[in-house]
């Protein structure tokens, strides 16, 4: 296999796996025919066309699901993202040895394990196992939050696992495997940012390095979701839901109590979720590929 063919096959990964299985050989064959014999890399325009062609094939594939399925999978991802980001500092306590001692510490550790298992379960476990895990996690996290004195924050701990259980009970379609990267990156980012907070007093140099990595991860999630929007609205909807839960609604409550002129309140309460929702809706309104097959005498392009 030539270098060109190896690289062309690597670019083909932009296409969905089943599309590659059916058309991959043919596309590679045409690309090799169209390239000069001494070429080791695909021409930039060829590479670009393969990547964009693959993304549009994926977009067309995603749009074949009914709208209700797409929205439910978006909610599932939002729940997993919220659940992954929220309890990450409990893992951190356990890792750096600052967890509460005694039964309290054990309860925190159990909740963290339950939350982590619940996050990955929709991708890896059977539906019944996922639902059981999510319900147990909701109960455990709710009790823990209540006893820890997070009176107003209990919903933030209980709603994500309950939503996850409800979606998995209703929706038989598994989310795409690559989506798991979003809650994992969210978990890592929030763990690193909590880690920075714990380091800031006695190790400023290290804390800034860790903070940079955490910020890159957080910004990376944002950028990845924006790029993903070209293909699929669901991750964008999920992030919009999480932003609304973590920033929008608290910002709205703050604005109602203290006024709208507080810096940052308007953007938190309105602009961030609104922008994410508008972007997601633009993508959701894209025509379905099946419907595009109009009478051939007047093709739509």
């Amino acid at each position: 296999m030539s270098h060109l063919e190896t690289r062309a096959r690597w670019l083909l990964r932009a296409y969905p796996p089943d599309y590659r299985a059916g058309r991959g050989e043919e596309i590679v064959s045409t690309l090799l025919d169209a390239s000069p014999p001494d070429r080791n890399w695909p021409a930039p325009r060829e590479a670009w066309s393969l990547v964009t062609g693959g993304l549009s094939a994926r977009a067309a594939r995603n749009l074949t699901h009914p709208l209700a399925t797409r929205l439910r999978l978006a909610l599932l991802l939002a729940a997993a993202l919220g659940l992954a980001a929220n309890p990450s500092y409990r893992w951190l306590w356990w890792v750096n040895g600052t967890q509460p001692s005694g039964p309290g510490g054990a309860a925190f550790a159990i909740c963290a394990v339950l939350a982590g298992a619940t996050v990955v379960a929709p991708w890896l476990a059977r539906r019944s196992v996922t639902i059981c895990l999510a319900l147990i996690a909701a109960l455990a996290l709710g009790l823990l939050a209540y006893h820890a004195g997070f009176r107003y924050g209990v919903a933030l701990y209980v709603v994500p696992p309950l939503a996850l259980a409800a979606v998995v009970a209703k929706e038989p379609t598994r989310p795409p495997r690559c989506w798991l990267a979003i809650p994992v990156a969210g978990f890592l980012a929030s763990a690193l940012l909590f880690f920075v907070q714990s380091l800031v007093d006695y190790s400023p140099g290290l804390s800034s390095a860790v903070g940079i990595v955490g910020t890159i991860l957080v910004d990376g999630i944002g950028c990845a979701v924006l790029l993903w929007l070209a293909v699929d609205a669901r991750p964008a909807i999920a992030v919009a839901i999480v932003l609304e839960g973590f920033y929008g609604l608290p910002g709205l409550g703050y604005a109602l109590r203290y006024g709208w002129d507080t810096p940052g309140v308007t953007s938190r309460a309105l602009l961030i979720p609104l922008a994410a929702a508008v972007l997601a809706m633009i993508r959701l309104r894209a025509p379905r590929p099946g419907k595009a097959a109009e009478p051939a005498s007047q093709p739509s392009h």
Partner: protein, 138 residues
């Protein structure tokens, strides 16, 4: 004079036009499109297959044959009747659109026989092209 509301994109037009003479495989479609367009349309591989997918979904092209050449899959695509009709309709639409301009340009030239009507040039440029225009219209 009516013109269809949804014009075909140029690469799509030349993909369909390249299949007029008979079924072709992917690379042959790329080469034929380039020839027919005078080198203006150079289809990249990904663009070609995205267009073929869309045209197949619309019923304009169909898979005609599949063979193995040098250990590689080679599929040939052909124009369907509705694809040929769509291509003819687009050709008529473009001819009508061109006629609007050529008829009016001719009428304008006949009203002002001494002046050139270059849409992009200024008056001095128009004067420069005037002799050539006279030759063409003579």
């Amino acid at each position: 004079m009516s013109i269809q509301a949804a014009p075909m994109r140029e690469p799509t037009y030349f993909v369909l036009a390249s299949l007029l003479a008979g079924p072709l495989h992917g690379y042959a479609i790329i080469k034929r499109s380039e020839e027919l367009s005078g080198g203006r349309v150079r289809l990249a591989t990904g663009t070609l297959y995205t267009a073929l997918d869309r045209l197949a979904a619309q019923g304009c092209v169909r898979l005609v044959s599949e063979e193995i050449v040098n250990g590689r899959v080679r599929r040939s695509y052909g124009l369907t009747d509705s694809g040929a009709a769509a291509l003819r309709a687009e050709a008529v639409r473009m001819a009508e659109a061109a006629r609007i301009v050529t008829d009016q340009a001719q009428a304008r030239a006949s009203r002002r026989p001494g002046r050139a009507t270059s849409p992009c040039g200024n008056a001095s440029q128009a004067r420069q092209v005037q002799p050539g225009l006279k030759e063409m219209t003579a």
